[in-house]
Subunit: 393 residues, 2 copies
């Protein structure tokens, strides 16, 4: 089932059915600027392609009752979200509802061959579970910049072995369907826009704090990727002149101070220095610490853990404050692995942004946690590939 819409009207109808679910012809007619006869022609053509099907009688609007229209129930999208330390794979229907979702710990530094072996095994497992026979499209998120038109990662700092790897080519061959590749942060933004906290917001920022820190930028409803696909790479914005050494080679970058990696390192340091009995105990038990240990310690009232979160939030807020002045967004979404740090983190980010940005930019600016957690990326990935499929061929 690889049909594509023949024109922009059909593409629009398919997206309306994806985002709004089964609809009557009259409902669709209210949303598109087409004459009744032209609408009927386009819907008939879509019915012929098999992309949409008739689906029961619609509610009466006074006239003759007509059939509802919906996207083909057999359509399946695969959403893949490759993080620095884990892989998420999910299957959705045409309305991007998740039918099955698997997650697996994995180090992105193992390289594309090992990772995609794992991804294909997870996709096969989902298929075996009965939620999909095959896939009509797949979206893949990777934790680094992507040359979007070609679907190829470029110079990804935390992904040795991935530079220039033809992700789209390789996977579309294996999966037998079209594949779209994007930066993981852009897909989180798409996910939160499609099904989460950013629904109906046209200009917003989605800051993902995982192992590193990145930012998805949505302008006028569309993801903005920049000239080389590296837009939103905010983890290496300087927060301290001549500050801490960063893995990128510069000094004073945001990621040298915060993000999952920096937080774990600072927590271990604090534990060894005897500044937190709670963290020291956890370090002894587990041999290492992670952001979730800091979250747990903070929940238990550990002041050192709370201070680490507060400092990280302040540093992150410093950078976001600058971006808010520059970009004047309508919403800032905070997501990613360390959102386990929750409202303590959010509070210090908010304090810093509201203090440091101009009132005009912050006057009506919600700063909120993402709603979708680990499903944001896979929903965004499915959305990306469905946007492609529901575009004129």
């Amino acid at each position: 089932m690889t049909a594509r819409p023949a024109n922009a009207h059909q593409a629009r109808l398919l997206r309306l059915l994806r985002d709004g679910g089964p609809s009557s012809r009259a409902q669709l007619g209210d949303l598109v600027e087409l004459s009744r006869s032209k609408l009927a022609v386009e819907i008939d053509r879509l019915l012929e392609t098999g992309l949409v099907v008739a689906d029961g009688l619609a509610a009466s609007r006074g006239g003759r009752r007509s059939h509802n229209i919906r996207l083909a129930p057999a359509l399946r999208f695969l959403g893949v979200d490759i993080g620095a330390t884990s892989v998420d794979v999910a299957v959705t229907n045409a309305e991007l509802e998740i039918l099955g979702h698997l997650t697996h710990p994995m180090d992105v530094r193992e390289g594309p061959v090992a990772i995609f072996e794992q991804v294909l095994a997870m996709a096969a497992k989902l298929r075996a579970s009965g939620v999909a026979e095959g896939f009509d499209g797949a979206g893949i998120g990777v934790p680094g910049p992507v040359r979007f038109p070609e679907g190829v990662p470029v110079s990804p700092p935390i992904m040795p072995g991935w530079d220039g790897f033809p992700v789209r080519e390789a996977l579309s061959q294996e999966l037998g369907c079209p594949v779209m590749v994007d930066n993981d942060v852009n897909l989180m933004a798409l996910g939160e826009q499609h099904a989460g906290v950013a629904r109906s917001v046209r200009d917003f920022l989605c800051v993902k704090i995982g192992t590193g820190i990145g930012c998805g930028i949505v302008v006028g409803g569309d993801v903005y990727r920049g000239t080389n696909g590296s837009a939103g790479d905010i983890g290496h914005i300087q927060v301290e002149v001549d500050g801490r050494q960063c893995a990128c080679g510069n000094r004073g970058c945001l990621e040298a101070y915060f993000g999952g990696a920096a937080l774990a390192r600072d927590a271990e340091h604090a534990a060894r220095e005897g500044r937190s009995a709670e963290l020291a105990q956890r370090l002894e038990d587990e041999g290492k610490l992670s952001a979730s240990d800091v979250a747990a310690a903070a929940t238990a009232g550990d002041t050192c853990a709370l201070e680490l979160i507060r400092e990280g939030g302040t540093r992150t807020g410093q950078v976001i404050a600058g971006l808010v002045s520059f970009f004047n967004p309508g919403l800032v979404v905070i997501g990613g692995g360390v959102t386990g740090l929750g409202h303590n983190l959010l509070a210090s980010i908010r304090t810093q942004v509201y203090r440091q940005s101009l009132p005009l930019a912050t006057g009506n600016l919600p700063i909120v946690l993402g709603e979708l957690g680990p499903t944001a990326g896979v929903i965004g990935a499915a959305r990306l590939t469905s946007d492609h499929m529901f575009s004129p061929a």
Copy 2:
């Protein structure tokens, strides 16, 4: 002559004629996706409105020679650029070529009534000089955020008395033509895009360093204004934690360190402290110093002036580096009054950005001075109002 195009095709044809000058029907046909007969219909309708006229025989392409088409030669746009310390007013033809240009020193803090009296007097003077009988549209730039749909300045920090002043309403009544209002920095970006260094660049930043510092943001060829019209307000991005007191009430803002106002203040300070004989002499002669004194002293080889420029460039480069990481532009244009500081300033901005941003974002990133100098704003203003006039009614 207040006709407007009736549909998107006509609007596109008018913009093509504005940007490309007189063209044959065949040339226009190559640029729009219209059948030959449909194109002929739309051009005939435009000829009827008087917005375009026939203009001599076009070069032969083998077939029968046809007439060139051009925008009505009598069309006139007024471009107004209100800076913190001066006002520029210019008249352009339909192709946005400047036919007359006046500039007048003036303090924006005198308020809208005094400023617009001056603007109207300058417009009358231009009319009296014979370059225009009347105006078909006017564009106005002001040095602060603007609620763009209504054409009203909002909370402009350096413009007491302007908050909420109905600029569009008031001026369209006085001038008897449609008026569009925007932030001065956005208009500089539009000007450099239309006729300057940013032609054909789709995603770029235009940093204006005048009395203060602002940034025009162009995304996909269009100015991005943000949710409240304050996008690009980068003068109050923090460059130093707990740094210098800024006029906005915060500490460590970029404008506390650089821009025309900060530079003049630092130069006077240096002169009084005996760090520069050159600047001390100028201060004695003139009673005060400005950015152009620093520029002249630097040209004369004064090391203190050079150091002030270098430091300012480094601070500005710090902020631009962050924006480059975030936005991944295809070009950064530096413009505004202090570009008299020229290549010394540019060199230190470049050094900082190339050192501090990730290689992927700076690999193909030209950082250049604007080409249009003080005409960028008025050309951008004329472009803004022509965009409005050349949109479907």
